[in-house]
């Protein structure tokens, strides 16, 4: 009885301890990111990735920081290195969480970085891929506001380019805004971005 109790306590305290470590680590990484130290945050997410090889959120955020900073990067050698890093971590996140719409959206953004870098070279090559990833994400999570928003943002871009009406996509943006209001993340540290962006897009394209 005594041994059992001891074992249980040890076990619980052990779990509690590692939970805490993960949570403190993740929280610290978000704080760094908030403090505009994205690369330090990325480094910390990377350390958490290798300490917690089963989780998908740490590699997801390593990739996301690299992707976000890829927009606007002009140096091809630097961009290629960042994109390669992002790709590795997207793959790891995918291994740890299959059929995850959030990761598919990130992957679509990964291709969009290349299109933004050189539209002439990558536009035709990757736009089909981006579209297909958004389709897939939408099938997996039809009510995820981030999926709806990202897809609609992409569609508005294409429609504007071909001088077509953006109206059908405004409905999607509105729907995303409504869903953001009630959206509850599945877990702590789960992606939550997008509400502000959705309102911004609605303001500038749909009024």
């Amino acid at each position: 009885m005594k041994k059992l109790l001891l074992a249980t306590v040890l076990l619980i305290s052990g779990i509690g301890l590692s939970q805490t470590k993960y949570e403190t680590g993740m929280q610290k990484a978000f704080d760094l990111w908030q403090a505009e130290k994205p690369w330090e945050a990325a480094n910390l997410f990377e350390r958490i990735t290798q300490a917690e090889p089963e989780k998908w959120l740490p590699p997801y955020y390593v990739a996301q920081i690299n992707v976000i900073n890829g927009f606007g990067e002009k140096d091809k050698a630097k961009l290629t290195a960042q994109q390669e890093k992002a790709q590795d971590f997207i793959n790891q996140a995918k291994t740890n969480s299959k059929e995850n719409a959030e990761i598919l959206v990130l992957e679509a953004q990964w291709y969009t970085v290349w299109i933004a870098f050189d539209g002439q070279q990558y536009g035709m090559k990757y736009s089909g891929k981006v579209q297909q990833l958004y389709q897939e994400a939408l099938q997996l999570a039809p009510n995820n506001p981030r999926v709806i928003l990202s897809k609609a943002e992409w569609d508005i871009g294409s429609a504007t380019y071909f001088n077509q009406s953006v109206e059908p996509y405004c409905k999607d943006i509105q729907r995303a805004i409504d869903l953001f209001a009630t959206f509850k993340p599945e877990d702590k540290f789960y992606p939550t971005y997008g509400e502000g962006r959705a309102k911004e897009i609605f303001e500038s394209n749909c009024k």
């Binding site: 009885m1 005594k2 109790l5 001891l6 306590v9 040890l10 305290s13 301890l17 470590k21 680590g25 690369w39 330090e40 480094n43 910390l44 990377e46 350390r47 958490i48 290798q50 300490a51 091809k76 050698a77 290629t80 290195a81 960042q82 890093k85 002439q120 070279q121 990558y122 035709m124 090559k125 736009s127 089909g128 891929k129 579209q131 297909q132 389709q135 294409s158 071909f162």
Partner: protein, 724 residues
């Protein structure tokens, strides 16, 4: 009761003990500095103990310091983009005041690449000069990948032939490979003065490497050049593609399920309506008609990729061409059926070994009628290949391979007075090995050796190959390449006589390349020496001809290439110039002379301009080739005269009607330059003792093309612009 109390007490004790033990865990400090080889600090590097949360990021001076509760031996890892990760396993107590120098990662983008002789079309390649799109948006190419490559330096303008002639080499000296497996009959057969096209649709390829010399030991049986085509690994999405063209139509469909995908393409070309509208110089009884079907099946395994490619095409035409010796002209009829299949597998094995293996089979039947002669030939060829590659490190890679080529060629010849069947079996076994050594970001070498055994000649050949590259500044590099190359005499001779020897070429190449900011400049100086070329003494090769392999020759020159996608907004252009000096003594040449497929100066200018407001891409291309040699029997000498220079300007316009519909127009030789390919002289002189001649003009001076391309996909976004 006592027991319970006791256990509560115990529990409290345990908890206290645990708390104490946690806070009492000793903290060890880990610290140091991270720099590059030359001492420059590296800020932002990730420093941590493997498998733990303990770590930090280096500061502006490359310094780091953190504490850990880990004890005993631990592995410290330091990683930073574009450097090789550093690992050190030591007792935590010893990980203090470390001075760590990271080695640069040689797999990163700014590492030197061996570029001598090679042009790549691909967007991930470091030496890419063409983009996959260019193959089909080059104005003069008309959707033929060979046509687009003819705008690169090192090629010569032989407009009536359509094949690739590289650096003074015959068209047969270029070999084509699909997924590294050889294609035996890459071109649709044609006849005099009618250019041929590549058989395979550019739709299916996403990587093209064109080497004009000094290529890897992996590729054999090519004296001058290799063209490597890679099929798309995995298609993006399911779609149906429809093409309606002034010369025919096409239909394509792609399906994806699980780890599998299948693409099927069919096309039908008939030049009858076109010839009605714009009659050319030939009198067609049966205008050119061809049907082609292709399919690619791909299956992704956990650690590998299998591709099976199959293509069938049937071509038929009949025409009468003018001939100075035949007042009624020469009637020529051709019927060709060609089947090609190619299966390849590439996969990762344990310990960084990689396996690449594949096989191809070709069955080609051609029936030709020339006036009264009937010639039927059948070629069955196969290629089997097995290659292993090992990455010992980022800096040292080895590959080993064996392969077998099998060719069974038969020909029937008959006319009213003569009947014969002849042919040959040409089997070649080969082995090759190659080492890639990257000493630093600045210096790399590649060494290869290839051995071949020809069963037909019972002879071995050994070909050493070597190349090296040195980076002279941030954006420019020098490369050197040397190699020996062997190739069996071509089918047109082997079918009559088999006791010959392999032809030989040696390449020496010096290359300079500058790349920066969407601009690329290349200059390449080369010398090529030929030996064992086929010679004979009759007017043309035949049964009773005595063939020898004692011909020789040389080619030397310099090639320039400039591409700029930066200086002018929405404008992308490239310029190629080649200077070629070549002579050879082969076939039935009485003396060494410049063959008629080689011209001294070649220039190509290709431009593409995107007009945003019109949703249109306008393409332009100018081809210039200086005159080519011909023999004028009215004067002394051999190949002593030259034709006038060749000029052609082509324009195209691709207009996006919507995301999925494209209208395409193109005109070749828009200014209608009068080009002369050569002259045909009468066999016998006229009453004045002069040999009369006929000018060989292209079959048509200009060519017009209109097409409508429509893509139907689930998402309604994809289009065929990249197929144009």
């Amino acid at each position: 009761m006592k027991l319970q109390k006791n256990s509560t007490y115990n529990l409290i004790f345990v908890l206290i003990f645990l708390l104490i033990s946690i806070s009492a865990v000793s903290q060890t400090e880990i610290s140091g500095i991270v720099t590059q080889k030359n001492g420059t600090p590296i800020p932002g590097a990730n420093v941590y103990l493997e498998g733990t949360y303990d770590g930090t990021t280096t500061d502006d001076k490359g310094r780091f310091s953190f504490t850990t509760s880990e004890i005993n031996e631990q592995t410290l890892i330091i990683s930073f983009v574009s450097f090789e990760p550093f690992k050190m396993t030591k007792n935590v107590g010893e990980l203090k005041n470390l001075k760590i120098r990271l080695r640069e990662d040689v797999s990163s983008l700014d590492t030197v690449v061996i570029s001598a002789g090679t042009f790549e079309a691909g967007d991930n390649s470091k030496v890419s000069v063409l983009k996959p799109l260019d193959v089909v948006t080059t104005a003069s190419a008309l959707g033929d990948f060979v046509g687009a490559l003819q705008t690169l330096p090192g090629t010569t303008t032989v407009s009536e032939d359509g094949r690739l002639f590289v650096r003074g080499g015959d068209a047969n000296e270029t070999q084509i490979f699909i997924d590294d497996i050889r294609v035996f009959t890459p071109y649709t057969p044609s006849t005099n003065n009618i250019p041929t096209r590549g058989r395979y649709s550019p739709f299916l390829f996403d990587g093209i490497t064109f080497s004009t010399g000094g290529y890897s030991a992996e590729y054999g049986q090519a004296l001058s050049s290799v063209l490597l085509l890679n099929t798309i690994d995995f298609p993006d999405q399911e779609k149906t593609e429809i093409a309606i063209m002034s010369v025919g139509g096409g239909l394509g469909n792609t399906q994806i399920w699980g780890n599998n995908s299948l693409s099927v393409n069919a096309s039908y070309i008939n030049l009858a309506p076109y010839n009605e509208l714009f009659p050319g110089r030939n009198d067609w009884q049966k205008p050119f008609e061809t049907f082609a079907g292709e399919s690619v099946y791909r299956h992704e395994f956990e650690d590998g990729l299998l591709k099976i490619y199959g293509a069938y095409d049937a071509t038929e035409f009949q025409l009468t061409q003018e001939d100075i010796n035949e007042p009624i002209g020469v009637n020529f009829k051709l019927n060709n059926q060609n089947f090609y299949t190619n299966a390849s597998y590439s996969g990762r094995l344990k310990n960084k070994w990689k396996l690449e293996t594949g096989a191809s089979f070709t069955l080609s039947k051609t029936d030709i009628n020339v006036i009264e002669d009937k010639i039927n030939d059948t070629e069955k060829s196969a290629h089997l290949k097995f290659k292993l590659r090992k990455n010992f490190s980022n800096r040292f890679k080895m590959s080993y391979g064996v392969e077998q080529f099998l060719t069974d060629f038969k020909e029937d010849f008959n006319n009213e007075t003569f009947d014969a069947t002849y042919g040959f079996n040409n089997n070649i076994s080969a082995a090759f090995t190659e080492a890639d050594i990257i000493f630093s970001k600045k210096f790399a070498i590649k060494l290869g050796l290839r051995g071949e055994y020809s069963q037909l000649f019972d002879a071995f050949t050994f070909s050493p190959r070597a190349s090296l590259a040195y980076k002279v500044s941030k954006n420019s590099q020098l490369s050197l390449a040397y190699g020996d190359f062997y190739q069996q005499p071509f089918n047109e001779y082997l079918k009559f006589q088999q006791d010959l020897e392999a032809q030989k070429a040696q390449h020496y190449i010096l290359n300079y390349q500058y790349t920066a900011n969407n601009r690329i400049f290349r200059a390449e100086l080369y010398r090529k020496e030929y030996g064992n070329l086929v010679t004979y003494n009759s007017d043309f090769p035949s049964f009773d001809t005595d063939f020898k392999t004692n011909g020789n020759g040389f080619a030397q020159g310099i090639d320039f290439f400039w591409r700029d996608n930066e200086s002018l907004k929405n404008m992308d252009y490239w310029v190629s110039y080649s200077y070629l000096d070549t002579e050879r003594e082969y076939k039935n040449y009485p003396i060494a002379a410049t063959p008629n497929f080689a011209n001294t100066h070649n220039l190509s200018v290709v431009g593409k301009y995107w007009i945003e407001d019109w949703k249109s891409q306008i393409g332009f291309s100018y081809q210039y080739g200086s005159g080519r040699t011909y023999t004028n029997p009215n004067e002394n000498g051999f190949l002593q005269n030259k034709t006038k220079d060749y000029n052609s300007i082509s324009l195209n316009w691709a207009y996006l009607l919507s995301q999925q519909q494209i209208l395409y127009f193109s005109v070749n030789n828009v200014l209608g330059f009068t080009n002369v390919n050569g002259y045909q002289y009468a066999n016998t002189p006229n009453v004045n003792g002069d040999f009369a001649r006929r000018t060989l003009r292209p079959a048509t001076d200009q060519f017009f093309f209109v097409g409508f391309f429509w893509t139907i996909s689930d998402d309604g976004e994809d289009n065929q612009l990249d197929n144009l």
